[in-house]
Every structure is written in structure tokens, then in C-alpha cells.
């Protein structure tokens, strides 16, 4: 029983990391109606920026803040320079472009920072809690993820900009007719997503250690989690991410064939989706013909 609880909590902790990257994915999907497959690599790159700052003796929270700002601006820039030119192109073209971004970021990181695995400091001390069920670091990660969720939720629900962003994503032409600068909304969406991603990366790095391939697996699970929860819903993203984390852990521990962990985890997720094709909290948009 103790082991089960331990695995669940450990799963929640890794799930929180998936959840935070999933939040970034949902952010961009809500803002621009596409999945940014490069979210993980962008997060990784942001983490390297933070690492550079920390190595230059900048205190951790200062480095984090600067990284957030740089990531936000970087995200906006990428939307403007890389994504905007193909905004009217077929969906597949944007998918390929985000895949191209994955390769570019990964390769650049490897070139600039090398592929050597690095240490990364965590702001949370690593002390056991609740009789070794989890650590303070796990709790910290979960807390940060939930805080981001709350902020994002409030942003979309209660602010004018949040509503404008949702409108711009759904119907850019009508949004313009309401005076909304659609281009700027897209940029803000990407900027926020990049900042969220940076946070996710900084939380991952102490655990998985910093190297250019750090976020690859995380992205896949985050993608699954976001869809499981409902790609349009931030709450769904977090719940989905947590569920994926716990499932992955339990499957890995109790399933005899550990090489099939990924397969089984995905099979379970898809099973759920068969019954809820828009995710657990996703809503289908009613379309009158």
C-alpha cells in the first residue's frame, strides 16, 4: 500500500511537469488553433538561458524572471517571424514548420551548449515529506503548476485580453471587426506559452538533468495529457498531465514488461479518448449547419 501511494505521488510530481508543458500547449492552441510541437524544445532552450544566467552568478529568482521575460519576447518573435508568414497556409504546413523548429532549437542548443549533461539547481529543497511519500521538491513543482493554472484560468475567464485572445483564435475576421488586434493577440499567446514552457523546463532540469534532449519525452506525455484533458481547456491540461504522470508511473512499476510502458500508457489514454473524443473536459463546438 505504501509503495502504491509512493508511486502515485511520484507520478503526480512528474505529472505536474507534464501538466505545465501541457498548459503551454493549450495556451497556443487556444490562441492560434494549432499545436506547437516545438514547445518542448523552446522550453529546453529557455532553460539553457536560465542556466547561463545562474552560472554567471545571477541569483536564481532573478535568473528565472529574466528568463521569463526573454522567453515571452522570444515567443512573440517566433510567432511574428516564423508562424505569421504561413498563417493562411494549410494546417500541415504549420505542423511541418513547428517540426522544423524542433530540429533547429535542438541542434542549436547542442551546438552552443554541447550535448554534455549538466546540473541545474532547484529552488525547492529536496527533503522528504509525509514519511517519504514525496519530497518538498515534488510539492513545489505541483504548487507552481497549480499556480500557473490558476493565473491562466483567471486570465482567460476574467480579463478582456483573455477573451479577446479566445475570440481572435476562433474567428479572426469577426475579432478584427470588434477592434481586436488579432496579430498582437497571437503574439501574446505565443509569448505566454513560451514563458509557461520556460517554467516547465526549469522545473524539469533539476530532475532529468539539463541536456538538449531533455524535453523530448516530456513533450510526448504533455501532448497526450493535454488531449486527454481537452486541448482547449487549461484545467483539463493539468488534470490530463497529472493522470498521464500517475498512469506512466503505475504502469511502469506494476507491469511486468517495462519495455512496453509507453505503449500501454498510450493504449489506456486512447481507450479513455474513445469514450470522450474531445478529452475529459473538452467541449465540442456546436455547429449549426
Amino acid at each position: 500500500m505504501h509503495q502504491l501511494l509512493q508511486q502515485i505521488f511520484s507520478g503526480l510530481a512528474s505529472g505536474a511537469i507534464y501538466a505545465s508543458l501541457a498548459l503551454a500547449l493549450v495556451m497556443i492552441y487556444r490562441a492560434t488553433d494549432l499545436v506547437n510541437f516545438a514547445q518542448g524544445e523552446m522550453a529546453m532552450f529557455s532553460t539553457y538561458i536560465a542556466w547561463t544566467l545562474v552560472n554567471a552568478e545571477v541569483p536564481f529568482w532573478g535568473a528565472y524572471l529574466i528568463t521569463l521575460v526573454v522567453s515571452f519576447l522570444g515567443g512573440m518573435a517566433i510567432e511574428r517571424v516564423v508562424i505569421r508568414p504561413i498563417e493562411n497556409a494549410p494546417v500541415l504546413a504549420t505542423v511541418v514548420v513547428t517540426i522544423g523548429l524542433i530540429l533547429i532549437f535542438n541542434s542549436l542548443a547542442g551546438w552552443i551548449y554541447s550535448y554534455t549533461v549538466q546540473d541545474f539547481p532547484s529552488p525547492f529543497p529536496d527533503r522528504p515529506l509525509f514519511g517519504a511519500l514525496m519530497t518538498t521538491r515534488d510539492l513545489g513543482v505541483i504548487a507552481v503548476t497549480l499556480a500557473m493554472l490558476a493565473l491562466l484560468f483567471a486570465f482567460f475567464r476574467f480579463t478582456a485580453t483573455g477573451l479577446a485572445m479566445r475570440a481572435a483564435a476562433q474567428n479572426p475576421e469577426s475579432a478584427r471587426l470588434c477592434g481586436i488586434r488579432v496579430g498582437r493577440m497571437l503574439g501574446i499567446g505565443w509569448g505566454l506559452a513560451a514563458a509557461i514552457g520556460a517554467t516547465a523546463g526549469i522545473m524539469v532540469a533539476p530532475v532529468l538533468f539539463l541536456d538538449p534532449n531533455m524535453m523530448g519525452g516530456v513533450l510526448i506525455y504533455a501532448f497526450a495529457g493535454a488531449l486527454l484533458g481537452g486541448i482547449t481547456n487549461p484545467v483539463g491540461a493539468v488534470v490530463g498531465g497529472l493522470i498521464v504522470g500517475v498512469t506512466e508511473n503505475l504502469v511502469g512499476t506494476y507491469l511486468i514488461a517495462s519495455q512496453l510502458k509507453l505503449t500501454v500508457a498510450f493504449a489506456l489514454i486512447i481507450l479513455v479518448l474513445v469514450f470522450r473524443p474531445n478529452g475529459l473536459f473538452g467541449t465540442a463546438i456546436i455547429r449549426r449547419v
Binding site: 478582456a160 477573451l163 479577446a164 479566445r166 475570440a167 476562433q170 474567428n171 475576421e173 469577426s174 475579432a175 478584427r176 471587426l177 470588434c178 477592434g179 481586436i180 488586434r181 488579432v182 463546438i285 456546436i286 455547429r287 449549426r288
Partner: protein, 235 residues
């Protein structure tokens, strides 16, 4: 009275094709002007040209400002509220959210304006939390108009509000439009295929055919004109 909106030699393009060939239109301040014409005559394109949604040439002057060089968002911010063909409702958002979006350019306090809109369109109040996509055609049209009014516009541009609606609903909507024009003191530019109803309410009318203005004058004059009666009013 000076016109609030003037088009001078305005051309409009769909891609490479010129579909509106140098027209002149004026909308009197506080009045209702209607642009009549058959399907494909260029009415919608003209409206889209005013709001910068298609490529255009010529002068478009609104309350002293040149619109022909501005983006759609800017034009909306200047006080032109366009209810597009097909209504352009945000079907994934609730009725209330749609209205709030209308008030986006007007700053932080939409509550009073929203109450006024619910006054004009009580059915929207009843459905305020529902997804806009679940509303009927007539209700969506009302929502679209209400959203445009939330912008506190000086000019309301309506593209075929009667499209796809039952005659009873069309009458209701037109009654409300006329009431709005009086109470909100807003000028209205209306595009319609339903000529008889439009001519009853409007002050001025233009008839457009294959991208050119062929007739213009007071609405009454056009309604009495025998040729127009034969071609567009059916008697």
C-alpha cells in the same frame, strides 16, 4: 447635413478581379441609407471595402478620417460597427462573451451597455450563458447587431440582416433597427436584397448592378420608380 460616410470613386477587388468599379456613396449623419442590388452585384464587397477587409482604391471618408488606408481593427476603433454577412458571431463563446467583445474598444465597463442591449433584445438576456452557436438564426442576428452596438458606434453597417430568416423575424429585426437608429443616434448603412422592407425604412437608397451605381435618390423616389418596382419589388 454633412454625410458621416463618403465613398468617392471607390474600387474594390476580390483577389486580382475588380468587382466594384469606382462608386460614389454618401451616408447622411443620423439617417439610414440602403444599398440595393441583386446577388453578386457588389454590395457586400462595398461594405467589406469600407472596413478594409478587401483590397480597395479610392477615398473613403468617415467623420473626417480617411478609412481607405487603415486596417479593419483601426476602423472599428474609430466608430464603424460592421455586422458582416453571415453574422460573424463567435459561435464557441457565450452570448454574454460575444457582447463583451463588442465592448472591447470601449474600455472596462460593459455592464450598462449590456443591460441596454438586453432591453432591445430580451431573448438574449434569457440565453446569456448559452453558447452562441446554439442560437437560432434570428437570435444570432440579434446578437450580432447587439454586439455591434456595444461598440457605441457612430456608423452601423449591416450586411443583409434578413438573410435566411423568416419574414416575421425579419420584420421584428427591422423594427428594432429603426428603433436603435433613433434612440442610439447612430447612422445606418444597410445592404439588403429584401428591397421593399428596406426602402420603407431608409432615407436614401442606391442601386448597384455589376459593381456600378445605376440609380440613387431618396428611398421614396426609388420605391416609386416603375422600373425598380418591376425589377426589385415585384410589382
Amino acid at each position: 447635413m454633412a454625410p458621416i460616410l463618403e465613398l468617392r470613386s471607390v474600387k474594390a477587388f476580390y483577389g486580382p478581379s475588380e468587382v466594384v468599379h469606382g462608386i460614389d456613396v454618401a451616408v447622411e449623419e443620423g439617417g439610414m441609407t440602403v444599398l440595393l442590388g441583386a446577388n453578386g452585384a457588389g454590395k457586400t464587397t462595398t461594405l467589406r471595402a469600407i472596413c478594409g477587409m478587401v483590397r480597395r482604391e479610392g477615398e473613403i471618408i468617415f467623420a473626417g478620417e480617411r478609412l481607405d488606408r487603415r486596417t479593419t481593427e483601426d476602423i472599428a476603433g474609430l466608430g464603424v460597427a460592421h455586422v458582416p454577412e453571415g453574422r460573424g458571431t463567435f459561435i464557441g463563446l457565450t452570448v454574454e462573451e460575444n457582447l463583451r467583445l463588442g465592448g472591447y474598444t470601449r474600455g472596462a465597463r460593459p455592464h450598462e451597455s449590456m443591460q441596454r442591449m438586453y432591453g432591445y433584445f430580451p431573448i438574449l438576456a434569457a440565453r446569456r450563458r448559452q453558447q452562441a452557436g446554439a442560437l437560432s438564426g434570428g437570435e444570432q442576428q440579434m446578437l450580432a447587431i447587439a454586439r455591434a452596438l456595444m461598440m457605441a458606434p457612430r456608423l452601423l453597417v449591416l450586411d443583409e440582416p434578413s438573410f435566411g430568416l423568416a419574414p416575421r423575424i425579419v420584420e421584428d429585426i427591422f423594427t428594432i433597427i429603426e428603433r436603435i437608429r433613433r434612440e442610439e443616434r447612430v447612422s445606418v448603412l444597410l445592404v439588403e436584397q429584401n428591397a421593399s422592407l428596406a426602402l420603407e425604412l431608409a432615407d436614401h437608397a442606391y442601386l448597384i448592378e455589376t459593381g456600378c451605381i445605376v440609380t440613387s435618390g431618396s428611398a421614396k423616389a426609388l420605391a416609386d420608380d416603375p422600373q425598380i418596382r418591376r425589377s426589385y419589388l415585384g410589382y
